[in-house]
């Protein structure tokens, strides 16, 4: 054990001396013509990297395109549903002290009717309103009659009674402030609220 340990520094020194003489011999050798080979491999590597990047870009583009298409589809679907919802919620308007349905009101109700027919889970609440000119109290009954008139139009065309609720707010919740015919005509109305089944809607005829 003692002898071996003494040998280690000697061997180490020999290795250093041998190694040193080897290095000193090197300069006589011709310089390695490496640059050409290196450039090729760099180019190759670059090409490979570019190709990889291109592939990745293409992959991402494809994903993005797919996402965009999905997003576009989502948007289109959302827009389609929003359009259906708007049609459902579009108010109808009345003449003074009347619950008669005008041609315009009927056509708006027909549009709602088609959507109701295409979506059996869809439920609505109709709120009848009046302008400020009548009696505060009598106007509550008038609003009720207006809401009932729209409901009757729908139920008489096949919509189940329990899918349409009605309420009257009389002149208590005007859509428009003001005391002129413009405000009054906008306040004599039925408003339509979607109370169920309105998140996904099939378009009529779908």
């Amino acid at each position: 054990m003692i002898r071996t340990s003494r040998l280690i520094p000697v061997l180490t020194l020999a290795a250093v001396v041998l190694g040193g003489s080897a290095c000193r011999r090197q300069p006589e050798a011709a310089p390695m013509p490496e640059p050409t080979v290196n450039q090729d491999s760099i180019d190759a590597a670059n090409r490979a990297r570019a190709e990889a990047e291109a592939r990745e870009r293409a992959r991402m583009d494809s994903i993005n395109r797919a996402n965009a298409a999905a997003e576009e589809a989502r948007r289109a679907e959302a827009a389609r549903i929003a359009a259906l919802r708007n049609t459902l919620m579009e108010a109808i308007y009345f003449d003074f002290d009347s619950d008669g349905l005008s041609a315009d009101a009927r056509s708006r109700l027909d549009a709602k009717l088609a959507i109701l027919n295409a979506n059996s889970g869809l439920t609505l609440r109709i709120a009848g309103h009046a302008d400020e000119r009548g009696s505060d109290e009598y106007n509550l009954a008038l609003g009720q009659r207006r809401a009932a008139a729209a409901k009757r139009y729908l139920t008489q065309r096949g919509i189940a009674d329990d899918r349409i609720a009605i309420i009257s707010y009389g002149e208590e919740r005007p859509a428009v402030q003001g005391s002129d015919e413009s405000a009054w005509s906008q306040n004599r109305r039925d408003e339509f609220e979607i109370t169920g089944g309105g998140d996904t809607l099939r378009s009529p005829g779908e």
Binding site: S135, D136, E137, Y138, A141, Q144, Y169, E172
Partner: protein, 431 residues
Amino acid sequence: MRHTRVAGWALALAAAPLAAQDTTQVRIGLTYQSAAPPTVVVLPVGGLAGDSARAIIARDLEYGDRMRVTTGPGAVAYEAALGQDGRAPNYPLWQRLGAAGVVHADLLPNGIRVRLHDVQGQRLATARDFALDGGPLSREWRMSLHGVADEIERWITGTRGIAQTRVAFVRGGRVYVVDSDGEMEEAVSAGGGALSPSWHPAGHSLAFSTFGEHGSELRVVDLRTNRERRLSGAARGLNITPEWTPGGDSIVFAHGRESGTDLFVVSAEGGEPRRITVGRGTDNTSPSISPDGRRIAFTSGRSGHPEVYTVDLDGANAELLTPFTIGDQSYRSSPSWSPDGRLVAFQARVAGRFQIMTINLRDRSMRQLTSEGVNEDPSWAPDGRHLVFTSSRSGIRQLWVLDVETGRARQLTRQGGSRLAAWSRILPPTS
């Protein structure tokens, strides 16, 4: 043209039961021009809060619209004419100053001593001590002072005053109550959307309608406890314009679903409502019950536009009250049956604006009472002489009180948007 008469109130005063209780059972021989109401002096009231007591009594007598009330600087002269230390008051001086009667009061520890002097008769007409509830300036104290003023009015005119009353109304979706003199206003309903308050005949509760999820519902608030409850029994849908029957045991209201709105009656405790009107798809709302409890005046669109009809409480004998001619497109609604049963007040469209009118039930003669601004939803005071209603005459909707006899009007509320007033009966001091 200058004719004078012995005022009826002199006789009535002697006949009044309260006067009869007094030892000073005298008859005032008061002479005044029939065209002009008598002038009454309210002297300064002795005791703490005497100024407030005097102001309340003087204003109540003034709002009764049956006399001229003097409290101004000239009253000092009247006060000087008050006999001191047992001396007789200087009646001739009061007479020269134009007074027919003099109210002289002093606050006592828990009450007020009131003396009414008959100037013409040169004697003390009536004297009485009244108890006052609550501490000075409290709601109860004020209400019992209103009662004192009402008694003084009876002594003078033979007819009890109506100061000891309150008016319920709606503002901003809440039910409010205010004393007849416009003081002590307070909100009494909790939620929003309240409409059409109606007094229990005893004055302790109000019924009204509110908006719920499935329509409108009737609620009752007890003013003694501030507790509110839903009136059960009424079905889903429109449940509006509650009106207590004179006995206080039932509520008549308008209920509508999908084929018109009709009047129903339900027990005030709840239960199955019973139909009154058969409107066949038309609207029938806003009941007002005759003082004998037999007939109901209400708004109905059964003729094609709103008119006032009457019907028996059991639904029989429906009859058009407000006459119209074929093609008449007026709008008459919101009836209030007078406490004496003779008149029904309502609103009618005149030149595009609602005005307050009355119709006499005997001869169907109609009278237009307002012309300034838009005037709606009348409700009679217990004297059958004053009406409270919504008016836009000041530029914004407020409650106004009109004396039908003299045409005098005063503004009751100070905040805009007040409407749908209901005048209570004479109240106990603590309600």
